[in-house]
Symmetry: C2
């Protein structure tokens, strides 16, 4: 692969990340090309379809989430690790409209896209959830998909990083609701 080709590929990835983050899955390819400072042809040569580009970005973000989950699991107890990861997902989603779109699962199947990469959100979240449930810190009758949906609700509150206090309130409600019933 030629050096300029690799450079441009990186530029496209960075620009696409920012564009998807600020405008969501709907940004036009032309806007991404403009932000990257390349032609639209260069974008579609490196990524044959817009969907492929979006998927690449989302999987990158999934890796970040998976890394964070691993960190939390290593340095905190079951309940704390789960709570921290939930809050982390919501914060990331609020700042990244593209990630929020992926997590809301409307028209794009993150789970299918991430299958086999080891960075599937539902798998990663499921592991933390299972540990917290075994420790008796989270009610046992919910699954990872339930939690993902609740997280997407929290993300909807205060999109774009605005109204951080409201976002935290909704997270607090969900975490309280997830405690085992007395």
């Amino acid at each position: 692969m030629r050096a300029d080709a690799r450079r441009n590929r990186e530029k496209v990835l960075r620009a696409a990340y920012e564009a998807f983050a600020s405008e969501g899955r709907g940004v036009s390819v032309q806007e991404i090309a403009r932000r990257a400072g390349v032609g639209t042809g260069t974008v579609s040569r490196h990524f044959p379809t817009k969907e492929a580009l979006y998927e690449a970005i989302v999987l990158d973000r999934m890796e970040v989430l998976a890394g964070a989950a691993e960190g939390f699991a290593a340095e905190r107890g079951p309940g704390e690790a789960f709570s921290a990861f939930l809050g982390f997902m919501v914060d990331e989603g609020a700042l990244d409209h593209g990630l929020a779109d992926a997590l809301s699962g409307d028209g794009f199947d993150v789970v299918a896209a991430a299958r086999g990469t080891g960075h599937d959100v539902v798998e990663v979240l499921g592991a933390l959830l299972a540990r917290a449930q075994e420790a008796g810190e989270v009610r046992g009758d919910v699954d990872a998909a339930d939690v993902k949906a609740l997280v997407s609700g929290c993300i909807a509150r205060g999109r774009g990083g605005a109204d951080e206090a409201a976002r935290r309130r909704t997270v607090a409600v969900v975490l309280d609701g997830l405690r085992p019933r007395a």
Copy 2:
């Protein structure tokens, strides 16, 4: 207004309701016209833009929600009425993709559209919420917009009426989380 014009207007409204419900805000005007059994011209004569048609449908749905809220408020206590309405919103949203899109508030501002109609969800929900909070049945630090966001999360779980059990689980989590802290 001519009789056939009023008939067609009704046909369009019914078809649009069904089309938005099953496919969301993104359905094409042509699809709505097809379902109504009229030409696209008839649709846009009665509703100058697709947005205007969508708004009409959403406001209709808001009226239904407001009516249900009134009923619950009349025949149940503060906490029960609030819980029932929350569950009702989620059930309605799960069956109506168009309503779900409106409630998620991504690209369409229900609150602004319903302002002054007396059927604004946030107002209606806010009234039930305030009553439940005063009775000490719901924690006092959340507002109606918080609840709306949490509801949209529940709707996201089991869209299209599928997986009703999962939907009920998420509602239960939210209701538990909304109880005053012990």
